[in-house]
């Protein structure tokens, strides 16, 4: 089911949670709403489900306006962060709930419901747990029951509110891959709310990055990661080094790496901020170009697939984070205290209003 969010605004008291949000989701897509807590992503999801009403704007599902439609008429499946399983019902009864509340005329026979529950239990790999109560399951199992329960009513739209947020890292990783595979089989339009950038980039076809009630960028995981549209997206998606001002201009930017700033851009009310990802910084032991930044290795973390370094430079107050492959690290034979020369392979410059001139 395609989704059209049209100029939706929502306020809680004086606080604007969603500020004139527009979004289009195509049928069969798996879209992630990504942002820090309080950015409005959960509110947008709840508005799509019908659990909240927008103050302004309209919602279309499959081209039909549903802004004033009741939840039960929208045919959406909703998966809650804390599962919201019915604690007094067995796993099988939980999954069957949506079918047993159907009006008698539409309700499948008891045997048919049982069969369907059995199929869904197979889908989420919990056949052996049918007669258990939610309290007897692990967090990951509970969330799979919640998903099966939402799928039982054959929703045209699946909404997942931080579904793996309460689980530990390993289970979370397994479940999001499983969810992606499940989606590839079922093709039900799905929206996944998460604050975990890795989860969004790994599971979704498209990522919607949200910040303070606004959509900052919409794109495929590659697009938002490689070409962040705003400084916020750059910082939210992965680690980043931020260089401010003239020194960055002289030192970090050289003609090969990024486009040099034109002279007139250096207006007094604009501030240049340069963003470089840790793995886009190249190190060498001797100076090869005059613009390279000289720095000292302060700290090394060698455990893991990649080597993480923290460098200190006289020209910047902040620590510079660098990520190297194991091979490169072995070539350089770096140790704490070594002097290195830093050169960015890729960077991005944003011009932002200078905080010093905001008053004028």
């Amino acid at each position: 089911m395609s989704i059209q969010v049209d100029h939706v605004t929502k306020r809680f008291g004086a606080f604007t949670v969603l500020n004139d949000v527009n979004l289009h989701v195509q049928e069969g897509e798996l879209v992630a709403l990504l942002g820090p807590s309080g950015c409005g992503k959960t509110t947008l999801l709840r508005i799509l489900a019908g659990l909240e009403r927008p103050d302004q704007g309209r919602i279309f599902l499959q081209g039909t306006e549903v802004t004033d439609q009741r939840i039960s008429e929208r045919r959406v499946g909703f998966v809650f962060q804390h599962y919201a399983l019915f604690r007094h019902m067995t796993v099988a009864d939980n999954i069957a709930f949506g079918l047993t509340v159907l009006p008698r005329a539409q309700r499948p026979s008891a045997a048919r419901i049982q069969e369907k529950v059995h199929d869904l239990l197979g889908l989420v790999h919990l056949q052996a747990m049918a007669d258990r109560y939610p309290s007897q399951l692990s967090g990951g199992q509970r969330q799979r029951v919640a998903l099966a329960r939402a799928l039982a009513v054959e929703p045209k739209l699946l909404l997942l509110d931080e579904p793996f947020g309460a689980l530990d890292a390993k289970v979370r990783k397994e479940l999001r891959r499983w969810l992606r595979r499940l989606h590839d089989n079922l093709h039900v339009t799905s929206i996944l709310v998460t604050h975990d950038q890795e989860e969004a980039l790994e599971a979704a076809h498209r990522v919607v990055v949200m910040h303070q009630g606004n959509i900052e960028q919409i794109g495929t995981p590659d697009e938002v990661y490689e070409n962040p549209a705003t400084p916020f997206v750059y910082q939210f998606l992965g680690d980043v080094n931020v260089f401010h001002g003239r020194i960055a201009h002289d030192r970090i930017l050289d003609k090969e790496a990024g486009e040099p700033l034109s002279a007139d851009a250096d207006a007094s009310d604009q501030r240049e901020v340069t963003f470089v990802r840790p793995h886009d910084l190249e190190l060498s032991l001797s100076r090869t170009t005059p613009t390279q930044l000289e720095a000292t290795v302060q700290f090394l973390i060698t455990a893991g697939a990649r080597v993480h370094l923290e460098l200190a430079s006289k020209e910047f107050s902040e620590i510079i984070a660098v990520e190297l492959t194991k091979e490169r690290y072995r070539e350089l034979k770096l140790q704490q205290g070594d002097v290195v020369f830093v050169h960015p392979k890729q960077l991005q410059v944003f011009r932002m209003p200078s905080p010093l001139t905001v008053k004028s």
């Binding site: 809650f80 919201a84 019915f86 709930f97 509340v101 939402a150």
Partner: protein, 293 residues
């Protein structure tokens, strides 16, 4: 002695040394508590049954089997049968509103529910006399239309409802607040109607606390004296509830009968306590399960 039991022993000693007193102090405190409860609770309770059975079993049974006593029992049961269901429904509705919705005046509503506990029962009764009595605000109008509230069944029921309002609601509000709205929201997104959601999700989650509140409410409704005394008019065989009947008998120096009827109320209290304990056990294990869910 192997290593693990040595460690276990030391653990026990260590725990003993900081969390409990010496054996002597411990025994002293426990005996003091028992002595106090025996003197002030058990002895009077035992005295009721001793006094009631003083004249023999025949006199004891005879105390109930007369028209006035039976009328009092019937009236008490009738009042409870009206007041308790009404307050159960109101309690669920109020707790639902307070726990699941945000609205202006929520704190005022919570305070209002607690008011009958803060007000003396005599005043609770007087309120109705001032409202519906012959000299009250609505008295003349009621008289004109020949509607009897004070010194009649409606007044007794009203006073009882007033006094027993808080019991169910207070039991449910904290529970429903801690349970949150998510399960109800899940039921709605799965297509349940409001009624289906209440019957299949909300009610099963609160049933033990609801029953607990109803039992406390019932005990108070049957045992209420002050408020009912003010509005009843003490008409024998008509407006006397069991507690009022006990008072009348006692004032007539009919101690055996008074204590016999009192023993019935005491039995009710004991049954209530047993039921309460059993339900508490149920809710405890239920809440433990809930915490994990």
């Amino acid at each position: 002695m192997n290593v693990s039991s040595a460690i276990a022993d030391r653990d026990v000693e260590w725990k003993d040394s900081i969390t409990t007193e010496s054996t002597f102090v411990r025994r002293l405190l426990i005996s003091a508590a028992f002595l106090y409860l025996t003197l002030f609770l058990f002895v009077p309770l035992a005295a009721i049954f001793a006094e009631a059975l003083k004249g023999g079993l025949a006199a004891y049974v005879g105390s109930f089997l007369n028209d006035d006593a039976l009328a009092a029992v019937r009236l008490t049961l009738l009042v409870a049968a009206v007041a308790v269901p009404l307050n159960a429904v109101f309690g669920v509705a109020a707790a639902w509103a307070i726990a699941k919705f945000d609205f202006v005046g929520k704190q005022v509503l919570i305070s209002l529910i607690d008011m009958p506990l803060a007000v003396s029962p005599v005043i609770s009764g007087l309120i109705y006399v001032l409202l519906f009595g012959a000299q009250g605000w609505l008295g003349p109008w009621l008289l004109e239309h020949d509607i009897k509230i004070i010194f009649a069944l409606p007044g007794i029921v009203l006073a009882t409802i007033f006094v027993t309002v808080p019991f169910v609601a207070r039991e449910l509000i904290p529970l429903m607040q801690s349970q949150g709205r998510e399960e109800e929201e899940a039921a709605i997104t799965l297509g349940a109607s409001g009624w289906q959601m209440f019957m299949r999700v909300t009610l099963p989650n609160i049933k033990w606390s609801l029953l607990y509140g109803v039992i406390l409410c019932n005990a108070r409704a049957m045992g209420e004296f002050g408020a009912v005394s003010v509005v009843s008019g003490h008409i024998r065989g008509l407006t006397n509830t069991m507690p009022l009947h006990v008072e009348i008998l006692y004032n007539e120096y009919n101690a055996v009968a008074a204590f016999a009827v009192a023993s019935l109320l005491t039995l009710l209290a004991i049954v209530t306590l047993i039921a309460k304990t059993m339900i508490e056990r149920k809710t405890d294990s239920y809440n433990r399960r809930k915490m994990q869910a």
